[in-house]
């Protein structure tokens, strides 16, 4: 059974302009239009970001997504994680999905590292007691020591990212969705983070990884989709996909 199934899924974005988000403009258009005897024009146009996407993600799949900027990679990840609903077609998923598309999400600069751990774990559905039992492990991995009792705004960028990384990668989901491979901290911590990332990926039932780094795609994925103008231009073996993508890049460069 497919863990994620997309069937002719489309996504249309509203292209917002200066007046498209204004209720005053909307009301004026409707009333003005009525007075002038014509239908009010709504200053919103739509663009198709994803066009009839159909594929399945099955257990064991390590799916890479590559493509130019604006090809629809992030939209596709958000569609698969459930943040967006398709405007046409369907997306169905089974199992616990963890989207690591913004791994500092919800971090509060005024709260201490420990308070941030409790808050983020509560967000993941853990009780305070459960959060307290996992906190020492996270503190130890982040190597923050006594700094864990200080507010985040006193941290360096590296310390901040180490904590965010430690929290985000603490639990192993069924389906892991990532926008680029996570990494944090100095060279020594990076080795540790890479090992943890590898463990997380290997334990997940399925991985969906969007990346511009072809080396990462080659390292982690056993299947690759190439996105072009909101459509799946290629779906198959990583080697062939990389070749196909490089030809696209070469063609675009002239």
């Amino acid at each position: 059974m497919a863990l994620i199934q997309l069937d002719k899924a489309c996504l249309d974005y509203p292209v917002t302009g200066q007046f498209s988000h204004s209720i005053r403009t909307h009301v004026a258009q409707v009333i003005g239009g009525r007075l002038l005897g014509r239908k009010g024009r709504w200053p919103v146009s739509w663009v198709r970001a994803l066009d009839e996407i159909s594929f399945e993600v099955n257990a064991g799949d390590r799916l890479g997504i590559i493509g130019h900027n604006g090809a629809g990679k992030t939209s596709l990840l958000r569609l698969m994680s459930g943040a967006y609903s398709p405007t046409a077609g369907s997306v169905a998923s089974t199992g616990n999905i963890q989207a690591l598309t913004d791994f500092t999400l919800g971090m509060d600069a005024n709260a201490t590292g420990l308070q941030n751990i409790y808050f983020r774990l509560a967000f993941m559905g853990l009780t305070r007691k459960e959060a307290e039992s996992f906190a020492p492990e996270i503190v130890e991995f982040s190597e923050l020591g006594d700094f864990i009792h200080y507010p985040l705004h006193t941290y360096s960028t590296g310390m901040y990212l180490r904590l965010a990384f430690a929290i985000s990668t603490q639990f192993e989901p069924d389906i892991l969705i990532m926008d680029e491979v996570l990494g944090a901290g100095d060279a020594r911590f990076r080795v540790k983070a890479e090992a943890r990332m590898n463990k997380l990926i290997s334990k997940a039932n399925a991985l969906v990884l969007s990346s511009h780094a072809i080396a990462n795609i080659a390292m982690y994925c056993n299947r690759v989709i190439v996105m072009k103008s909101g459509r799946v231009a290629f779906d198959g073996d990583p080697g062939d996909a990389t070749k196909f993508y490089q030809e696209l890049v070469a063609a675009a460069s002239g």
Binding site: I23, R24, Y84, F119, A122
Partner: protein, 266 residues
């Protein structure tokens, strides 16, 4: 078996309404803390400044209108605190889902999360302000058990009204960003037509019922006036119930129309 029951009950409560309540509590507390970051007094700083403001206004207006300072202070202070809770919660609700855009673009969440977190935070602020209400009850007003019970149920009904209202304002503001300014303007006018500083019984009798077209006036009557042993009007009770019902109908309609694709507008 007992452990399983406990687990299911806990999980059920945590996820009631599709919302993670522990996260709502953590998020609302975090935002309240952030608002008073660096202040030793925290939320009580607002209580202190509100108390000074209420005393100053009550002193001046009681002299201008030649009425008892004790009576006017009790009426105005409790009215202002209940009004700030109801109107302030609705006023700020407009920006609450937009403020959490990052959350909705990176995880699957119900917009009710922001709504509940916002109302919960307002309730925490309101709970702090109740110190002033307690002070009024002890030194300036005569309250009764029946009055306090009515106020309690009036406040519950008020929260039941605030949930769909805040959701509606929050969702509509995702679509129309200038709604924030429109709502602020409406609430500035609403303060003047709501009996916070003036009493309903001073309005000509023929027009008194019209005051309760305003939902905030109705909720104020079944909370503040009940607390101070002033008459609770049947029109206010009916109006509060009808507004609550109407708000939930609008909520149902908006949820069906806008919720599926609201993240596309963030």
């Amino acid at each position: 078996m007992l452990a399983l029951f406990h687990h299911l009950t806990r999980k059920g409560l945590e996820q009631l309404g599709g919302v993670n309540w522990l996260a709502v509590h953590a998020y609302a507390s975090q935002r309240l803390r952030a608002r008073y970051a660096g202040s030793v007094l925290g939320e009580f700083w607002l209580v202190a400044t509100t108390a000074v403001f209420l005393m100053a206004v009550a002193l001046v207006w009681s002299m201008l209108w030649r009425i008892s300072l004790d009576d006017y202070f009790a009426y105005f202070a409790t009215g202002f605190i209940f009004y700030t809770f109801i109107a302030g919660t609705m006023n700020e609700a407009a920006g609450t889902i937009i403020a959490d855009s990052r959350l909705y673009l990176n995880s699957k969440q119900s917009p009710m999360f922001s709504v509940f977190a916002h109302i919960y935070r307002s309730m925490l602020s309101f709970a702090h302000q109740l110190v002033i209400v307690l002070f009024v009850a002890l030194f300036f007003a005569s309250t009764s058990v029946a009055g306090i019970v009515t106020t309690f149920f009036g406040t519950l009904l008020c929260i039941l009204f605030l949930v769909p209202s805040c959701y509606f304002l929050g969702m509509l503001s995702v679509r129309y960003r200038d709604l924030l300014h429109v709502i602020h303007s409406i609430f500035q006018i609403l303060f003047l037509v709501t009996p916070v500083m003036w009493r309903i019984d001073r309005v000509p009798e023929a027009y008194q019922a019209w005051v309760f077209i305003n939902p905030v006036a109705s909720f104020l009557n079944i909370t503040r006036d009940a607390f101070l042993n002033l008459p609770v009007y049947p029109e206010a009770v009916i109006s509060a119930l009808l507004w609550t019902l109407f708000a939930w109908l609008v909520h149902w309609f908006v949820a069906r129309r806008l919720e599926k694709h609201f993240t596309l507008w963030l």
